[in-house]
């Protein structure tokens, strides 16, 4: 990437930021996405609000099925419809509401100002196009890069994601790469237009720990260099501890706790977060230490319990929890929790 570009101040606020009250890059309000299966309605994203500030990495954690991916897909209106539908909410990005845009306007944002890295690289790489063709496409469409500069830019990107011998790899097809290299090509594609926001959905879950470490370090470096923001979706709390500035913890389609990484790990205030941290196997544990699991099973999103969705598994639950749904409210400053009970240290 050109130095002039890399040295620009992080995310100069766009000219159209007037709608944006707190100066966040992304502002999500009351987002609600459902899937309809016959008479059943699965509340995949159940009225959530959050923001992402310029240059920060926000992690979304939570167990399988808690709505992490559907939150990300909703932001870019990639929900398969039917059966899915975004039924409520606003998503402001640089002051514009992504949910009100025309398909054309949105296409201009996707892959350009907001890029997404999907969990399974093979599904988002085109198997019949070479790496060169796939990298060049967004540059031509969004950035009008001159034809004679494209090759150099492609090589530069592959070098940034540490593909060895990029010259010999440029005209290779995705199946000629290993899993880790494909994931890096995906990242190169996502970075091709220097997006202001990168959404990475479990970018390393399918990979080995060693390759995972390479890729996450790379993402951290690159977002830092370009001053981009990142939404990092994962269920690995270890990954979150190293790479996130702030964390949203999701349970059953809701955000149940939100705070800085330190707040979440050192003073978890929602019983689910507490359970999640206690049940993590740790490398630095004492020998054969017993794990403390969260008892019970994850909820059925088509048939949620009354009151707090976590109450059937919650060791702190009181009567109120069974009847009333706790709102997400400040616990301290920007540290938010949705729980009726005060969990002490």
């Amino acid at each position: 990437m050109k130095d002039a570009v890399a040295n620009q101040p992080a995310n100069t606020p766009g000219e159209t930021m007037q709608k944006d009250p707190v100066g966040g890059l992304l502002q999500v309000e009351h987002l609600r996405t459902v899937f309809r299966q016959g008479r059943r309605e699965v509340k995949a994203v159940d009225g959530i609000s959050f923001s992402v500030n310029p240059g920060e990495t926000l992690a979304i954690v939570g167990e399988s099925g808690s709505g992490k991916s559907m939150t990300a897909m909703s932001l870019l209106r990639l929900i398969p419809s039917p059966p899915g539908e975004i039924i409520d909410g606003d998503v402001f990005f640089g002051g514009r509401n992504l949910l009100d845009m025309s398909e054309d306007e949105l296409r201009d944002v996707r892959g350009n100002e907001i890029a997404m890295i999907f969990q399974e690289p093979m599904t988002s790489l085109n198997p019949v196009l070479t790496v060169r063709q796939q990298l060049a496409e967004p540059m031509r469409v969004h950035r009008k890069v001159k034809e004679e500069d494209i090759e150099a830019r492609c090589l530069d990107l592959l070098r940034q994601v540490r593909i060895p011998d990029p010259e010999t790899r440029l005209d290779a097809y995705p199946h000629q790469f290993s899993g880790g290299m494909r994931q890096r090509v995906m990242i190169a594609m996502a970075l091709a237009c220097e997006p202001r926001l990168l959404i990475a959905d479990e970018p390393t879950t399918a990979l080995d720990v060693t390759v995972q470490a390479q890729i996450l370090e790379l993402l951290k470096d690159l977002t830092r260099q370009h001053g981009s923001s990142m939404i990092l979706i994962t269920h690995d709390l270890g990954v979150v501890a190293r790479y996130a500035d702030r964390i949203n913890v999701m349970y059953a389609g809701r955000i149940v706790e939100s705070g800085t990484a330190r707040e979440i790990f050192e003073q978890p205030r929602h019983p689910y977060t507490l359970g999640l941290i206690n049940s993590m196997p740790r490398l630095d544990a004492s020998e054969k230490a017993r794990l403390l699991p969260i008892e019970g099973q994850p909820p059925d999103l088509g048939n949620l319990p009354t009151g707090c969705a976590f109450h059937p598994r919650c060791p702190f639950a009181v009567d109120q929890c069974r009847q009333q749904d706790p709102p997400l409210e400040p616990y301290q400053g920007h540290h938010l929790k949705a729980c009726w009970v005060n969990v002490d240290d």
Binding site: V209, H235, L237, A241, R262, E266, I277, L283, K288
Partner: protein
Amino acid sequence: MTDTPLLEVRNLKVHFKLPGSLLRPRSGGSVKAVDGVSFHLKRGETLGLVGESGCGKSTTGMAVLRMTPVTDGEIHIDGEDITHLKGRALRPLRRRMQMIYQDPFGALDPRMRVLDIIGEPLKVHKLVTGRKAYRQEVLRLMELVGLLPDMCERYPHEFSGGQRQRIGIARALAAQPDVIICDEPVSALDVSIQAQIINLLKDLQEELGLTYLFVAHDLAVVRHICDRVMVMYLGHVVEVADSEALYTNPQHPYTQALMSAIPIPDPRAESRREVDPSIEGEVPSPVNPPSGCPFHPRCKHATEVCSRVAPTLRETTDGHAVSCHLYEPETEAESLVRVASIA
């Protein structure tokens, strides 16, 4: 009680022939999935088997169970060589050694009721007589693994991942095995459910005196359940040690790199952790493995000898063995060369 280990594996090799290509039909090479692995399992212990995807963990487990052809080497149980047992002679082995699989969704027959999934080994190995005893035994097993008895008429798709893994465990226990090979039993499960299953496996071991070979790629999970840990790389054992020794004093450069790559769920500890750069580079192919030490292309300590000569697994301290030239005593020839070069 004797000192004979329950299971002993000597120089095990499992090579898979690759189909030849259209142009060179006879030239298909082979995948050296397991290439000279030796280890033993003591009664009642848990041995962890860790390493990157494709390094031969599952193949080792399958070979021990005699579920994949053994190319070379020996497998002994209670001192008896079982490497070449065939047909009926394998029966008792099939009961004594059970397996729990990674994929709790694929491993259960979707058309069978839970009652029959768990009960099948009881019938196959004729462990109970009569319908009533059969049902009673299945219900006892269900209770043992934390399933409610009224679930026994249901089918696998009606259960969550964690519950299905419990069904798989109950089925393995039905045969009253001595050894259970757990092949990534919690990798497919959510963190909160992982912990439930790991605790269950520990409790069952204590109650029933089971011996586990615990295959995993997650070193943190292994730490919570294993007494000893064996690290594999590209079909070879590169290090084996007591759990505590391995985690506090990893010796092989690969083990060290592996440990440094694992994130710790604690932002303060994380800000101090440095990722070992030697882990850069690609995992090599077992079809065309590197010469010498299989790890040398990625190893930051590699010297000339590493690319030429394969190191052997040898004990450095009591019970701690490592396969790396850094820990090999100098040969006479080498020391002569060194002395000559100094002089």
